[in-house]
Amino acid sequence: MFYDDRTFASMERMLADMNRLFDQTRRDPLWSDVPPAVPFNVWANEDALMVTAAIAGLDPDSLHISVAGEVLTIRGNRTSESQSGDERTVHRRERRFGEFSRSLQLPYRVDADQAEARYNGGILSVALRRPEDEKPRTIAVQAA
């Protein structure tokens, strides 16, 4: 079977349409008590891991980040910035608020004492160092 670029383009389009459909379902008022989605990206280099999460409008004080062995847990609470009574008529309500908690399995054990978290412009980034004894070691091959 032969596939050209267009076959994949139409598949991508179909996938995008389906994603849109599901996104719309999620915006249904019945789902409004669903906690906010906190998508993660995990980045790595030789010495460290960087976990980033896209979540706008958080109070950094509401964040609780913990590391236990190879598991990183991020908890937080996103509260609406509008004052109650401020909203005369609501035209659209798509943003989600409330408590969230997510845990992530890391590829190796990290040093919890050296973890650093930063919240800037709606992006949370947690830097985690790789301990020396978790680093890969090169094994020299000796001639017999």
Binding site: M18, A44, R88, H91
Partner: protein, 133 residues
């Protein structure tokens, strides 16, 4: 998201990509819109955007929000697991005529855009005093 592209594939693809050269997927940000006596207030989630990377245009009654996150690639790292892609946030609204265009104000804080669109004077509610007959 229920359907994601192969994260491993994305990792290799994105390896050498910088902020400038990224193919960004256009996404509609989630918004709340409410109305006060004197203004319409629009709030939008634009994680990774600050006041420099958000652009708001108002043309012929059409309001367009556009945000391009600047901070979504940590320097010197490779993506190993991905749930969100570099996005360009775009959303367009048609405004009612009765907005005082000169008074529109916008603030970005922690990736949340708050846009205040004051109503024109002639459509603001007025209290009518009732006199004793």
């Amino acid at each position: 998201m229920l359907f994601t592209r192969n994260p491993a594939k994305t990792a290799t693809e994105e390896r050498t990509v910088s902020n400038e050269g990224t193919q960004r997927r256009r996404r509609a940000p989630a918004v709340d819109i409410w109305e006060q006596d004197h203004a319409l207030v629009v709030t939008a989630d634009l994680p990774g955007c600050d006041e420099a990377s958000v652009e708001i245009t108002l043309e012929k009654g059409v309001l367009t929000l556009r945000g391009t996150p600047t901070s979504d690639y940590p320097e010197g790292f490779t993506l190993v697991y991905g749930e969100y892609e570099p996005a360009e946030y775009v959303r367009t609204f048609t405004l009612p005529d009765e907005i005082d265009r000169s008074g529109v104000s916008a603030v970005v804080r922690n990736g949340v855009l708050t846009l205040t669109l004051p109503k024109a004077k002639e459509v603001q509610p007025r209290r009518i005093a009732v006199k004793a007959g």
